[in-house]
Amino acid sequence: MSFLNFCISIFSFKITPKYFVLNFLATLIFLFLVAFILKQLDFKITNNDIIKSYQIEKIKSKKFQEINTIFVGDSSGGNAINNVYFNKLSDLKSENLCLTGSWGLNGSLGIIKKAFEKNKNIKNIIIIQTLDIWEREYSKESILELFTLNEQFQLLDNISIISNLFNLKEIWWHLKYITTKDKLQKIDLENDYLLQREEKYSNNKLYIKDHENFNKIKISQSKNKELKMLEVYCKDNSLNCIFLNGPIHKNFLTRSIEFKKYINSKIEKQFSHIKYYNDLFIYEQNKIGDSYDHVDIKYKNESTLDYFKLLQNELVY
């Protein structure tokens, strides 16, 4: 029997309609269960998993009890703040707990909640978000990953929660991870953030293109909703929350004149309890890392100093 005939005979193997139906349903239920178990095991299979677990480990550590200031936000803040240097400058005890942009403001809120649950002595919360955060989609995933199940049911519809718990994509992601695990980013412990790519603006392997700008950015309703939740949390817990813009490549901002006006006219008005500074932290090509909003690691102290200068009179001791 040739291989082809063998395959044909296997695929033509007849099943009774009853077993066809029952096996189909049983296989689906089995796969949903596998997806559910993989979700609960929470393996680190993506860059977002890695950074989340890295920052949560910091919160769980004993040392965290001494902290009174935390930095939250996305990678623009993660790459811009050296908390050790900031501690020296400010005489405070701070920790950098920034995630990445895809976690959105909900991600920052989730981290703040976890940090504050662990340490009630936290007084200052510095939120640093990249400039284009305002137009991004509502960060549903952050709620699913960082909020309690009760909070999830209050904030999201049941279908989203259930489909997240039984997401068949989990199986695919785990299978993909086996083949791509070497490509995942690793934590740079010395510089306290995800390892950056080789291609950087500072080494002239990246350039801002002509059409790249922020001029079309408008505050989305969903992001406003996230901000309101952040406001409520800061107010209810009497936290000194300060919101700052993430760093940006000079050439990028030069092409975003409309956006600069928008920041002053619109974004500022969205804040009530949280203190917002519309100052922009602009850096030349040689000081920017692997993304237009990442300061090169070599200049992390410089950007930390820039942020400190702005914050020094606003921090609670």
Partner: protein, 427 residues
Amino acid sequence: MLFNYVVGNSLNNNEGHHRFSKKSMLTFGIVSNIALLGYFKYTDFMIYNFNLLTDANIPTLDLALSLAISFFTFQQISYLVDSYRQETKEYDFLNYSLFVTFFPQLIAGPIVHHKEMMPQFAKIRNKVKNYINISMGLFIFSIGLFKKVVIADTFAVWATAGFDTATTLNLFEAWATSLSYTFQLYFDFSGYTDMAIGLALLFNIKLPINFNSPYKATDIQDFWRRWHITLSRFLKDYVYIPLGGNRKGEFRTYNNLLATFIIGGIWHGAGWTFVFWGFLHGMALVIHRAWSKLGFKLWTWLAWIITFNFINIAWVFFRAKEWDAAVKVIDGMFNFNNIVLSEKLAIKLSILLQYGVSFDNISVIVNVGKALPWIVISFVIVLYFKNSIEIQNKFKANLFYFIGILLLTITALGKLNEFSEFLYFNF
């Protein structure tokens, strides 16, 4: 539902004396149904046009459209007309209610006829579990789910970007937008129909075919024999033929065709773009009829190109939320002064600069690079593959089909997290 059941039964009842003539009762029944549909679906449209014409400022009602109202209105009108024609039997109210509200086809069709449904509901054997039908139902359902979730929803991203967000489109973006919608609509609607057919089969109910490879059509009449077959059937039996059909001379036939398709256009949505879409199809049918009468014929491939492109262009008006959006896409499709090629080709094809071709990022609004392979594959599927009904007829409960439906279902369920509304919910 109760109203239509009572009116239908009265129309069907030959015995006894009626206070009103049957024709008056039928007219009252039809007008009541259309009035209800009109109130929910067309009031705002009429207010808007009235305001426009008279400079008045009457506020719109912003009524929530009752789900599936267009579909169950048509089904019930056909029931009334057939009762008047004495073509209905004395169905019981429970079966009648099931006929109108049968959930698999309720929200987006197929538009079923009482003659094909009522006997199935009444059949005792259909109330017994049948694994052959269940397995076939799961099979056709999985194909439909895959078509909707994986293919149609992928095209939806590019269609939405082109129609709703762009202010101008270059030539390739405009074609990618229109073709994306053409395929989105087909895979969405036929996928939904497959799911309805599959779900109904789980209950031993066979729904009528609604699609038969419509994009293989080589003329517009052929297209309407393949696309939304149950709507075409309704329009033919309850609009075109009562208007006189082709029995009252050639000129009247053309008028009837045009009127039928304009009504079909309005049925799809309350907007001038829908009316224009119906008008375009009506005109195309008139031209096709006149052309055929004169005995002209085209090569099959040329006939297909003309038919497909006409359908593709007409869908632009069907999809556009406003007239300007339709004009923007059509303008982009035929504006040969706005050809943008990938900047990667700038050096190799620099000679084209003198002909007005520019080199830039070709996918600013619509990701042409990503859409292109999907469009090519979709062409292959709709033109060279068997449609789901043809595949269903070959279905056997064996390992091949088992693995097939498992893969289709898993892929679709995996992608469901990004689901969007079914397009035909609003019609």
